[in-house]
């Protein structure tokens, strides 16, 4: 289904759309308030961009250095070309430990690889321990946002879900009560877990360590209690030095939620005595993206979600309308690199306003890349006939000034004089849910010429 079709479904519930829109804009606003207190914020973004660009230009050597140091730390390092190999590796580690109960903290990579169904098929219980992720897991849905996985759910919906699955009492969606019940439910899961899986926010070449950031403490509760900790990361999570964390930890939480840092920034280097730690390094299309000069900067992404919170399309269409692991503007430049045909409508789910690029903590030129994907997609995938012909007509019109002026005159006159019913008739999609402006009496060209004359 194309993005616009899926968005139409989301838009059926107008109140919910308005709520969704406002809730995300509120997060964007918190981001602004917090970054405005940081002197040299733009310099910090430049550093974030520069360090990531440098890392990609030497990524093979940094990965080798990382592996060497991690092994010295007593960590077992695995490599996976694609999602399937990643799943197999994780499965084998779990089998070797006869692990039947697994707790997992947030990891978009394991979502991307569809790890949960793979493990569940072998009778392994996988519990997502981040509250938002647990909510969508119970609802059998994918996350709709990378930082706020259940942002599309109302508190009443969460209330109903918890009553059904956790046996909670009806509470009119009281977040305090529901969170408390989730804490109890997941405490039990942490205590019983045979293994813990976490994502990785940053992997550090010069120490061989990894950093995991959470607000809830779920990654640590899992990793420190279970006898095995498996951390899964894409190749692009690497940074050269531990000192670079100074830059990225200043950028990440402020961009994500407006917090100055996440509650926990855990630095894992060596496994606990008697426990095992594994790191799975995954490609799954990333080296392909690295080969595309126009799009490789998308690999700078530190997964803060700021581009989603600010995007006028994302806010009004919801994360599920993107039908991709990573939704929103950043997802729309990552996904076509994986499957151009399936995700061909995503780069068009944008006004190209550039707000995503403005808030990106590592200065990815997201809106330019969206535009570049459009150029490629229009050439490589068949476009709807209406779009194709109308684009041709518009191109023709824009190239002939006299004709353009004539058509403009007619259009302005029509907008002033035709009845609303005609202007907003069905073929005019721009008149859907909104009134078009009154046509001005003169064109810009006419106004400009008049002004020149009077000078």
């Amino acid at each position: 289904m194309s993005h616009s079709k899926a968005a139409t479904i989301f838009n059926k519930d107008e109140n919910k759309v308005n709520w969704h829109d406002k809730a995300l804009w509120f997060v964007r606003h918190k981001r602004d308030k917090s970054v405005h207190t940081v002197k040299g914020w733009e310099e910090l973004r430049n550093l974030g961009h520069g360090i990531k660009a440098h890392t990609l230009s030497n990524l093979d050597n940094y990965l080798i250095q990382f592996e060497e140091n991690a092994k010295k730390n007593g960590v077992q390092v695995h490599w996976a070309v694609d999602g399937e190999e990643h799943n197999k590796i994780v499965h084998q580690i779990l089998k070797a430990h006869q692990a039947k109960k697994v707790v997992k903290s947030k990891s978009m990579l394991t979502e991307e690889c569809h790890l949960n169904p793979y493990l569940e098929a072998d009778g392994i219980e996988v519990i997502d321990s981040d509250l938002g992720e647990r909510i969508v897991q119970l609802a059998k849905e994918p996350p709709s946002h990378i930082v706020l996985p259940a942002i599309h759910k109302t508190k009443e919906e969460v209330d109903a879900l918890f009553q059904e699955h956790l046996g909670t009492k009806p509470c009119n969606g009281d977040p305090q009560y529901l969170t408390g019940e989730a804490r109890k439910h997941l405490r039990e899961k942490f205590i019983q877990a045979d293994a813990a899986i976490t994502g990785v926010n940053f992997a550090i070449a010069d120490t061989g360590g990894i950093v995991v950031c959470t607000n809830e403490g779920n990654a640590d509760m899992g990793a420190h209690l279970a006898p095995v900790h498996i951390a899964c990361m894409g190749v692009e999570k690497l940074i050269p030095k531990q000192t670079h964390l100074g830059v990225f930890l200043r950028l990440l939480a402020r961009s994500a939620t407006g917090q100055h840092i996440t509650t926990y920034s855990s630095h894992f280097k060596k496994p606990l005595k008697g426990s095992e730690m594994h790191i799975v390094i995954v490609d799954n299309g990333r080296t392909e993206q690295l080969s595309r000069p126009d799009f490789r900067a998308s690999l700078h992404c530190i997964r803060c979600g700021a581009c989603m919170n600010t995007c006028p399309i994302y806010r009004r269409s919801g994360g599920h309308s993107y039908d991709a692991t990573i939704p929103g503007p950043i997802g729309s430049i990552l996904s076509p690199g994986k499957d151009l045909k399936k995700h061909s409508s995503l780069p068009f789910a944008s006004t190209l306003c550039g707000s995503c690029s403005d808030v990106c903590p590592v200065k990815i030129d997201i809106h330019s890349q969206l535009y570049k994907w459009r150029q490629l997609i229009t050439k490589e995938t068949p476009q709807p006939i209406i779009k194709k012909t109308s684009m041709k007509m518009m191109g023709n019109l824009f190239s002939k000034p006299l004709q353009f002026e004539k058509v403009g005159k007619v259009a302005r006159w029509s907008l002033r004089n035709l009845p609303k019913g005609v202007i907003n008739s069905k073929p005019n999609v721009w008149g859907k849910e909104r009134d078009l402006p009154l046509g001005p009496t003169e064109s810009f060209d006419e106004w400009y010429k008049k002004r020149k004359k009077n000078e």
Binding site: A23, F26, V27, V38, K39, E43, I51, H54, S57, L59, D60, W79, E85, S129, L131, G132, I135, A150, I151, T154, V158, G173, P175, L178, T179, L186, R187, F190, I191, N215, E216, G217, D220, M221, H224, L225, V235, P240, Q242, T243, L245, G246, V247, L249, Q259, H260, I261, T262, T263, Y264, S265, S266, H267, K269, I281, D283, L290, S291, P293, R296
Partner: protein, 195 residues
Amino acid sequence: MSSRDHILSRIKAHKPEFIEEPVITLELFMDWKHVKTEFTMKVEIAGGQVFEATSNQNVTEQVSAMFPESKVNFSTLKGTDGFNTINLDAINKPHDLEDLDILILESGLGVAENGAVWIKDSQLPMRVLPFITKHLVVVLRKDAIVTFMHQAYRKLSCDQTDFGVFISGPSKTADIEQSLVIGAHGALSMSVFLV
């Protein structure tokens, strides 16, 4: 070819021309805010509290007064054995700490810009402690607070820590309709005592 070699060779073939590593210039960020005031404000923004104390003994006294109902207490501070109700050596697995009410730890590093304190392995008898406890208390020397994360990592670069964590405030979540709830999976409260 192994997956490792396959991935590495593809990166080698596809990576862009070498780009220099940028230099971090601390002076760009200096805002001359008052370190202790800033730290206190940021801990509070993160949902924590900051107190002053005169001695270790004074910390445990204040903590006991704050949580009169607490039953299971543990402190790593020197000379506060009377406060402890459990003996960690007698605990076989970290899971037995589930009922821990209060944990008092020392930190040697605080960061003013975000109210985070650094807790490392050598100050931590068990890694799960600061997460599994209901209430977390951290004792920090005033002169151990730096302004920015950049300075914090400079300090950490000469430190061989197997596990360490920056903690800023109690655990929290806003996953249900963006309503902030303090107390997710980790501590329900966090207090920092400056000495």
